[in-house]
């Protein structure tokens, strides 16, 4: 087990990075805000960290904090700019933001190393420190899934008219969501550089944005667990399963994503929740009792109504 772990350590760190990246897309999506700004902050965090470490300005922890705060500031600026935009348009305007960053990264040679990127970044991150960062993120995000914040985000996603009539300021929550997304994305970008030791314009590309989005849709949008499942399936499994060719992996994961997007609106985790509910009720039905009157497809559905 320890042998397997040390052989796959980079991969596991990489999966944690992708988990945070997925989380940065998922947090806004949870309240119905489709923003890819987190991917942009991931790129910014990556370049900031690479520059800081290469010039020896700060250590790893300092670079991580600066990247996270920087990501949050950028998220805030983006949120103010796009405050009147929503839906797919918001998704696409933030995608353009990501792609512009990619072009900037390719052209600002002295700061970003141009098309080849920045190489040989000195790093000393341990898997344990990565785990700590991930656990902190999970704790905060999981806390926001419950209570008042959880109900508010749920209402914003499922019914924005209801949310408005309850006095929830959608614009302000969009701002919060984009700032949180920026902080998480910036941290993920910093950690990515610490794992791989380099950053390149590819870290702000169309492919990365779609990968992040795919992880969230695959795992599920409602809980941090969905982001984790998505990251494990997309990032970890293909490298661990070695008996399939790369083409087969792409085809299988592509078909899986199509199936999930088509029949499982809440991702794999939502499907598991439904199966779990059915299994739990099955014995009662066999015993001759009438089925439960209220269909409960997933936890916390419509919680905002009852509060």
């Amino acid at each position: 087990m320890t042998g397997w772990f040390s052989g796959h350590e980079i991969l596991i760190q990489n999966t944690m990075v992708y988990f945070l990246l997925a989380l940065s897309i998922q947090v806004p999506m949870r309240m119905g805000v489709f923003s890819l700004g987190g991917v942009g902050c991931y790129a910014i965090g990556g370049y900031v960290t690479a520059d800081l470490l290469l010039h020896g300005v700060t250590g790893g922890v300092g670079a991580l904090l600066i990247s996270a705060v920087g990501g949050g500031v950028v998220g805030c600026v983006v949120a103010v700019l796009v405050r009147r935009v929503s839906g797919l348009y918001l998704g696409m305007i933030t995608l353009s933001f990501v792609l512009i960053l990619g072009v900037l990264a390719g052209n600002l040679g002295s700061i970003t190393g141009g098309q080849s990127g920045l190489y040989g970044v000195p790093y000393s991150a341990t898997s344990l420190s990565f785990l700590v960062v991930c656990l902190i993120a999970i704790a905060i995000v999981a806390a926001s899934e419950r209570g008042r914040i959880g109900r508010t985000t749920e209402t914003l996603r499922t019914d924005h008219l209801l949310a408005a009539s309850m006095g929830i300021d959608a614009g302000r929550w969009q701002l919060y969501a984009l700032v949180a997304s920026g902080v998480i994305g910036g941290a993920a970008g910093a950690m990515n550089v610490m794992t791989l030791g380099f950053v390149a314009p590819n870290d702000a590309g169309f492919a990365l944005a779609t990968t992040a989005l795919t992880m969230v849709v695959l795992g599920g949008r409602r809980s941090w667990l969905g982001a984790l499942i998505g990251a494990v399936i997309i990032q970890l499994l293909p490298s661990v399963i070695t008996f399939l060719s790369p083409t087969q992996v792409v085809v299988i994961s592509g078909v899986l994503v199509v199936v999930v997007a088509t029949v499982m609106p809440d991702g794999l985790i939502g499907a598991v929740a439904i199966v779990w509910t059915l299994l739990r009720r099955a014995p009662k039905r066999l015993a001759g009792k009438p089925p439960a009157p209220t269909p409960v497809p997933a936890p916390a559905q419509g919680a905002g109504l009852r509060s």
Binding site: G32, G87, Y89, I93, L99, V250, V257
Partner: protein, 297 residues
């Protein structure tokens, strides 16, 4: 300069064909099909395989390309998009799921073709319509003229069809209110398939023109075009045919000028900035759009 403007017109015509299909699919059905780039590439790939060792005339190659594109697009509509739209839920959430599913389909198509071609460039059997003319100091080939002509004729015909024909009226009705449209004895399902076939067929024609114009293409070449098409649709307005034409020519002009007068690597950034400015200042595009505008009232 005149030569460059002419080249812009050719490039713009290909962009028009490509983005028109995407634009009507999005505007009418709410299907933002990001597999459009993969369909373009797949159509030209199939045409290059079928045409191998046959000396088909160019028209036949075009028909093959448009059929392949149309069939793939209809398959996606019938198997995937329709199931997503029927599962109910928030309009924005459904659109997002369509986007994700189409990205996944595109990744499968691209992976399969790059596997079969081993990432090599594939070509059409012969070089078509290569005879060239000099008019007012501009060098133009028959192929270039055909592309410009096809862009004009097809977009004009589509516009006429949407405005004047009964089916076009039905399409516009579905775009505004699918439920009421179905009460008016409109078969929404068949109409959706028809729209998506048209969208795919236009992509197929664009694919054939692209491979013929550039002399060959690779499987990985499809995603760059996608972002361009997206910019064009945003500039022109979702679902607007005239908008797509103007957007495509504007975009091609911008790209040509930037490549000519700057180092070229900055060109994409300015196009993306254009997208951002248009969305911020005039989200419905420079021209009126269909479904979304109604939704947002």
């Amino acid at each position: 300069m005149a030569q460059q403007l002419f080249n812009t017109l050719v490039l713009g015509s290909i962009y028009v064909l490509f983005s028109l299909g995407m634009s009507i699919g999005w505007g009418v059905l709410g299907n933002l099909n990001l597999a459009q780039g993969a369909i373009v590439m797949f159509s030209s790939y199939i045409a290059s395989i079928v045409g191998k060792n046959h000396n088909f005339p160019f028209v036949v190659v075009l028909v093959i390309g448009s059929l392949v594109g149309g069939v793939v697009s209809v398959l996606m509509e019938s198997v995937v998009f329709r199931a997503i739209r029927r599962s109910g839920g928030d309009e924005e959430e459904l659109e997002l799921r369509v986007v994700i599913a189409s990205i996944a389909v595109a990744s499968v198509i691209v992976a399969l073709v790059s596997d079969y071609t081993a990432n090599n460039t594939f070509f059409l059997q012969s070089n078509y319509l290569t005879s060239s003319y000099h008019v007012l100091g501009i060098r133009m080939t028959t192929l270039q003229l055909t592309i410009v002509g096809a862009g004009l004729i097809l977009s004009g015909a589509l516009d006429l069809w949407m405005r004047r024909s009964k089916a076009g009226l039905a399409v516009r009705a579905v775009a505004i209110d699918p439920e009421t449209a179905s009460l008016m004895a409109i078969n929404e399902r068949r109409l959706a398939q028809m729209t998506m076939f048209l969208a795919g067929a236009l992509a197929g024609v664009a694919g054939i023109f692209l491979i013929a114009y550039y002399g060959g293409t690779t499987a990985q070449n499809s995603s760059a075009l996608l972002v361009d098409a997206f910019a064009i649709i945003i500039i022109g307005g979702v679902g607007s045919i005239g908008g797509a034409v103007v957007g495509a020519v504007l975009f091609a002009l911008l790209e040509t000028l930037l490549t000519a007068y700057t180092s070229g690597t900055w060109a994409p950034a300015v196009s993306f900035a254009f997208i951002i400015v248009v969305i911020l200042v005039r989200p419905q595009g420079l021209f009126a759009s269909s479904r979304r505008k109604v939704d947002r009232v």
